[in-house]
Amino acid sequence: MTDERTTAYLLQELTEEEAERFEEQCFALDKWPSQLESAEQELIDAYLHDELGKDQRLRFEKNYLTTDVRKARVLTAQSFHKVLPPPRPLQTMTLGEKLWAFIQRPALPQAAVAVLILTIGIALLVPFMLSGRRPQTFQRLDLALSSANRDTGVQPEKVALPLHAEALEIHLKLPEQSTNAAAYRVQWENVSNSLGDLQIESRDSQSIVVIIPADKLSPGRYTLKLFTVNQDGIKQRVSGDYFFTAEEPARSR
């Protein structure tokens, strides 16, 4: 009884026979399995943190939230996440500590291991560093949040291609009500695809800065979506989007 199966059971994604078999497997154990409650909690958390897909979200609301007890579980979980303080930093070994621990061990094997790691490291790292180095020159673009979409006729900012720099440095002006979030996420998309998250380079009280390497841009319209993340890790979409269009100069005949 994995978490996936428990989730499928709770969302009524299993057939009737599968659901009955699942119950029988649980009931055949000496004790009612406690991992079911853990999996249920994780499902509720995923719902509250907006981590479920659209279909699962709908099934959660239609098939899971069927009793007062379950509705109360969701509301108390929401209260819990709201009051949860930020964690203390996880104590993990730093690179220096790991190196020291390595040096402390008996000498013979690690000389060979060190040579091996060094050789492999150089072989792997050099091409990676050459190809994936951070852009050094930037072309600045300032964008403000807009509720405009393609149909409203508001013209997005334009960027001429090719860029005169290695990357586009976009300064996204934050809306007033969103300047005190614990963190932000920015997703970008073109007209046909979601292009994933953009790394946030810096932020101040008024804006955040994201970088798009020149080789990631091709002619077309781009949309950047802003999300705030509160101290509980709950992500919330900020209404409105940032738009810009990348254009190549018209070719003369």
Binding site: S38, Q41, T66, S79, L90
Partner: protein, 181 residues
């Protein structure tokens, strides 16, 4: 009714009354777990009802090759009857949670949760805030393995601990909210 109960105990272990009692309790706990998982308002009462019906059917001479499956069948039937999915207490608690949001003047559910959270031992508070702040996606599993190692738990044991502590928080909020129902 007592005769039915005695027949059930005899059925569970004819030769040893103590062992029969243990088997009865184990069955009751599993039924309560099942009803709780199904979101029934009073899982203990539902488990009692299931075992009462099972005892009656056994006393009436039903053929029962597997007591677990037999009781599960009755429990499913009880669920289908819609038996106490919701009751006055669960409705009142839900109503409290829904109405006592941030706007509430006297008390809100967040302040009750905060009170309950602050009553936890420091190590449980640390555990919850670390465990629940895990990143999303693949990084979550890695983060929780590291956390478990740091706390000298297995990942499973840590998860069970988190579940228990969170359940105790839920119970605490429910208890504190009773005076507002």
């Amino acid at each position: 009714m007592d005769q039915h109960f005695d027949r059930l105990l005899t059925f569970l272990c004819p030769e040893d009354p103590d062992e029969a009692g243990l088997r009865y309790l184990r069955l009751h706990q599993k039924l309560a777990g099942y009803f709780q998982f199904r979101g029934v308002a009073d899982p203990i009462a539902a488990a009692d009802e299931t075992l009462d019906r099972a005892a009656r059917r056994i006393a009436e001479g039903s053929d029962v090759p597997d007591i677990d499956k037999f009781c599960l069948g009755i429990a499913r039937f009880i669920i289908k009857e819609g038996w106490r999915f919701n009751n006055r207490e669960s409705a009142a608690f839900l109503q409290f949670l829904q109405q006592h949001d941030h706007d509430s003047k006297d008390v809100d559910r967040f302040s009750l949760m905060k009170t309950c959270f602050e009553q936890l031992p420091q190590n449980d508070r640390d555990l919850l805030s670390s465990y629940c702040s895990a990143p999303t996606g693949r990084a979550r599993a890695k983060y929780r393995v590291e956390l478990a190692e740091q706390l000298n738990y297995t990942v499973t044991a840590m998860r069970v601990r988190v579940t228990r502590v969170r359940r105790s928080l839920d119970d605490c909020v429910k208890e504190l909210s009773r005076s507002y129902w």
